[in-house]
Amino acid sequence: MSTSIKARPTGLKDVEKGSSLWADAYVRLKKNKLAMLGGVIVISILVTCFVIAPILSWMGFDGNEQDLANKFAGPSTKNLLGTDQLGRDLLMRVLQGGQISLLVAIMATMLTVTIGVIYGGIAGYVGGRIGNAMMRIVDGLLAMPFLIIVILFREVISGQVDEIARFLIDDWGWNDNDVLRFANLIPLTFAIAGFGWLSMGRIVRSSAASLAQQEFVEAARSLGLSHRRILFRHILPNMLGPIIIYATLTIPSFILYEATLSYIGLGIEPPNSSWGKLIQEGANYLETNITVLAVPAVLFSLTLFAFNFLGDGLRDALDPKASKD
């Protein structure tokens, strides 16, 4: 015993300093030009929608002001991308629609990650019969038609949200316009997350299950740590890679869900608008003026591209072994 302790290399300084997982991943990510391009586009779109658009609207550009004498106008200094079928400024419409699309997708992704990590983490860590039963529920819900389950959730939740919104307006004296506009987004967000967390839960479960078998978890357990501590301090940090990757890839798919629902007419309601709604409106005027379809469609597709390339790149960077599909 004592000799083996003495034989340990002395002076950790001599050992070459290893680079962390994250530093490694960043080096790999920087080499991936498509992913970097995707990242730059994602950041530019976020900045345009959430920083530049509010500045423009403060400067007097308005996406809701109608000017019926000026329908389908070409680009001008007043309307940088021209106007739509009601003479509204197309650029501001698209940017404000983007705010809603992105906001819903990002909020729904955060919800998805929270629910998926807790549910999948518990199912994977507990394992056995309970874990299996938990996953069968997920499998079962995945066999539901997507539209039915999302609309069902949305309707059930919107009843509750309406009550809360009314309470905030009547009893707390909040600005009814702002509350209603935001309250309009909540049911949709929850509905999308209510379906979306299923896949997240599956991914988290499989990585939690494999981590729960590993020796460091056994060591933590034999030290007498509580289950909650093991789950949140030991297993969760090791799952961050897959969670980040999946979350990045979830955002574009949620943007798509939201757009599909809004396109159908079951998503965002006026006065809010979103890319899906704009595309749907634009498709009606396809023959009169293609820009009202093209502008939102291009921005929407570009955003999906960028998020997907960034997500793929992150996966290749964080988990080189899994970069198969």
Binding site: L142, I148, E287
Partner: protein, 306 residues
């Protein structure tokens, strides 16, 4: 083999039973009433309607009655919103349309996506790979409701033998099938590429190369079958989803398929229609998954023992 099939079918039945139960009770939590939207409906009429559809009875009796009708009489009930139509008739009329559209677009997707994925894997990290993957990404990102209108404008308008929308001529299936196929083709291409890359790095492929087997033979005889495993796993659920109709594509091209009922049913709180659809979809999903599992067992001998 027979035991696997039977146990999987049993599992499907359990899942479908639970899903219908969940839907049965969840749909009643929706605010409003199935007949609230019908204009000029007095309280008495509404009560009469509820009596007619058995909605005045306690919930557990309604639930028991639903299963009694489905199991003993094969009756899915009358649709609430489409007056005088049975749910089974609605499904029987619209499903063949969606099936035809879905099968054609799946066929297109497979003949497009799988070769694309193989090419990408064979030229891994070369320009062919990047091009194929960018095309695949375009298939995912340029969605049906953008593609559909563009196709209508650029093909149906100038070509007289294509209708812009509708479902009267045999050629009417072409544009919607193409619109629908790109997304699936894109996923298939990515999954095939991944599976192919995985297999091409295996030892037995290296042995085959060392023996001097030609590139074509390596791909077709040795690599392709196991490489398609991820794609086939994806195809199971995708198959069930596609043949039951895409609401978006069917509404763009005005096709009287099944997709519309998924939205109309839940929107109109048409309890029987929604339950019938959940039941039908769940069973189809189970069968499709079983078929894809059987295909996997055939493709990957390692799976036969487990």
């Amino acid at each position: 083999m027979l035991r696997i099939i039977l146990s999987r079918l049993l599992q499907t039945l359990v899942v479908v039973f639970l899903l219908v139960t969940f839907t049965f009770f969840a749909i009643r939590m929706m605010p409003g009433n199935p007949f609230a939207d019908v204009k000029a409906l007095t309280e008495e009429n509404k009560a009469a309607m509820e009596r007619l559809y058995g909605l005045d009875k306690p919930l557990h009796i309604q639930y028991a009655n639903y299963w009694k009708n489905v199991l003993l009489e094969g009756d899915f009930g009358d649709s609430f919103s489409m007056k005088g139509r049975k749910v089974s008739t609605l499904i029987a009329e619209s499903f063949p349309i969606s099936l035809k559209l879905g099968l054609l677009s799946l066929l297109l997707a497979m003949s497009l996506g799988i070769p694309l994925g193989i090419i990408a894997a064979l030229f891994h990290n070369k320009w062919q790979d990047y091009t194929a993957m960018i095309i695949a990404m375009a298939g995912i990102c340029i969605v049906t409701f953008v593609l559909g209108p563009i196709f209508q404008l650029s093909f149906a308008k100038p070509l007289s033998w294509l209708n812009v929308a509708g479902w009267s001529r045999p050629s009417d299936v072409i544009l919607p099938a193409i619109t629908l196929c790109f997304g699936v083709a894109a996923y298939l291409a990515r999954l095939t590429r991944g599976g192919m890359l995985d297999i091409l790095s295996q030892d037995y492929i290296r042995s085959a190369k060392a023996k001097g087997v030609s590139q074509l033979n390596i791909i077709t005889k040795h690599a392709l079958r196991p490489a398609l495993v991820p794609a086939v796993t994806f195809l199971g659920p995708a198959f069930a989803a596609i043949i039951t109709g895409s609401f978006v594509v069917e509404s763009i091209f005005l096709i009287p398929g099944m997709g519309q009922y998924f939205v109309l049913g839940i929107q109109n709180q048409d309890y029987t229609l929604v339950l019938g659809l959940v039941l039908f979809y769940g069973i189809l999903m189970g069968i499709a998954n079983l078929m894809s599992d059987l295909a996997l067992i055939f493709m990957d001998p390692k799976l036969r023992n487990s």
